[in-house]
């Protein structure tokens, strides 16, 4: 018994050295496997959520993400929706968009973006639309997050 334990212990120790080598040699392989087998993604609170639609304006387009209310379990009361305008090179000085994210054919809010001044104006037409959370210029265009609150 003692002998068997000893052998097992030493084998395990040698295996640890192999694990170190494998960790680095196979890093790309293992990371890809880890990602694909777990199907894990970035939380919508950071990624902005999946894109659900876009509005085509001749030279540029408005990209609409899904509203994000995701909680650990179920949904939260507070959330946001992310809107993007791209590409940055083709954006006019002033953009005006009416966004319908509920899909009921009625505009939920209007957004006016002054790209020169970097200012946005939000006109809520739905009580769940609260305020502009972030408005940032990124390399492909402009990104805005609009704060939402569920109304019960």
């Amino acid at each position: 018994m003692k002998r068997a334990l000893k052998i097992a212990g030493y084998t395990w120790a040698v295996a640890c050295i192999v694990v170190v080598l494998a960790t680095f040699v196979g890093n790309n392989y293992f990371s890809a496997k880890l990602a694909s087998s777990t199907g894990i993604t970035i939380s919508p609170w950071f990624s902005g959520g999946e894109i659900v639609g876009s509005i085509d304006h001749a030279t540029y387009k408005t990209v609409i993400h899904r509203p994000v209310f995701d909680g650990l379990i179920g949904e939260r009361k507070e959330g946001f929706i992310q809107i993007e305008w791209q590409p940055v090179t083709a954006l006019p000085l002033v953009i005006e968009d009416g966004i319908d994210f509920t899909g009921d054919g009625k505009e939920d809010f209007a957004f006016r973006l002054d790209t020169a001044a970097g200012r946005g104006t939000l006109t809520p037409r739905n009580p769940s639309v609260i305020a502009i959370q972030t408005l940032v210029k990124v390399n492909q265009g402009w990104v805005a997050r609009i704060q939402l609150r569920k109304v019960s």
């Binding site: 909680g71 650990l72 379990i73 179920g74 939260r76």
Partner: protein, 210 residues
């Protein structure tokens, strides 16, 4: 949800506070795990009753609070600051203090001998009604809820959150070193208290933190 997490986060403290009361009882009797489990259930039931009566109380506070946002934030902010201050104080500086309901131990001693089942229920009720700091934070948060139903729900989830930590209690016959958990729970509560202190302070400062 929020209640559940507040419960979870402060549950360790609750367990740490209450275990000294509960554990000796469970261990002292030298009963089986199943019997211990039943005892725990009685204890939890008492706690639940205590909490639910507080839910009603918190709702009462809520309805009597001024409705205009700035004033409410000021009040709730002040409550947060005061209570989290208490929480920090208890977790870092009052290391020796046990569960506040331990004070009732004397009286309960008689109950314990005459009616053991009632004893546990009343102990639970006492811990449910006591003013231990994490619980007071829960009251302050619940006071923000709009309806009686929401308030009750909040306390129900808070109860579930804290109970998670008491579930292992029946198996405590095996657990010797309980004191590390005690210290850890208290320190964690202190950290969470610090966070609530910040929220309270910002609420007080401008009422813009939401």
């Amino acid at each position: 949800m929020k209640g559940f997490f507040l419960g979870l986060s402060s549950g360790a403290v609750c367990a740490a506070y209450c275990a000294p009361v509960l554990v000796p009882y469970l261990l002292g009797e030298g009963r089986s795990v199943l019997q211990n489990f039943l005892a725990l259930l009685q204890f939890l039931l008492g706690r639940l009753l205590g909490y639910l009566s507080f839910a009603v109380f918190a709702w009462g506070i809520h309805t009597s609070l001024p409705q205009d946002i700035a004033h409410r934030n000021l009040l709730i902010g002040a409550a947060y600051v005061f209570l989290s201050g208490l929480l920090i104080f208890y977790s870092f500086f009052k290391a020796g203090r046990a569960c506040p309901s331990a004070g009732g131990q004397e009286i309960d001693h008689r109950l314990r001998n005459s009616r053991p089942s009632l004893f546990l229920l009343s102990m639970g009720l006492a811990t449910g009604l006591n003013f231990c700091p994490p619980f007071l934070l829960a009251v302050a948060t619940a006071a923000e809820q709009a309806s009686l139903l929401q308030s009750v729900l909040f306390f129900l989830t808070f109860f579930l959150g804290t109970s998670v930590f008491l579930i292992p209690a029946p198996f405590l016959g095996l657990l010797r070193g309980f004191s590390p958990l005690h210290v850890i729970g208290k320190m964690a509560a202190g950290l969470i208290g610090a966070y609530y202190l910040f929220i309270g302070a910002t609420m007080l400062a401008g009422g813009f933190y939401r």
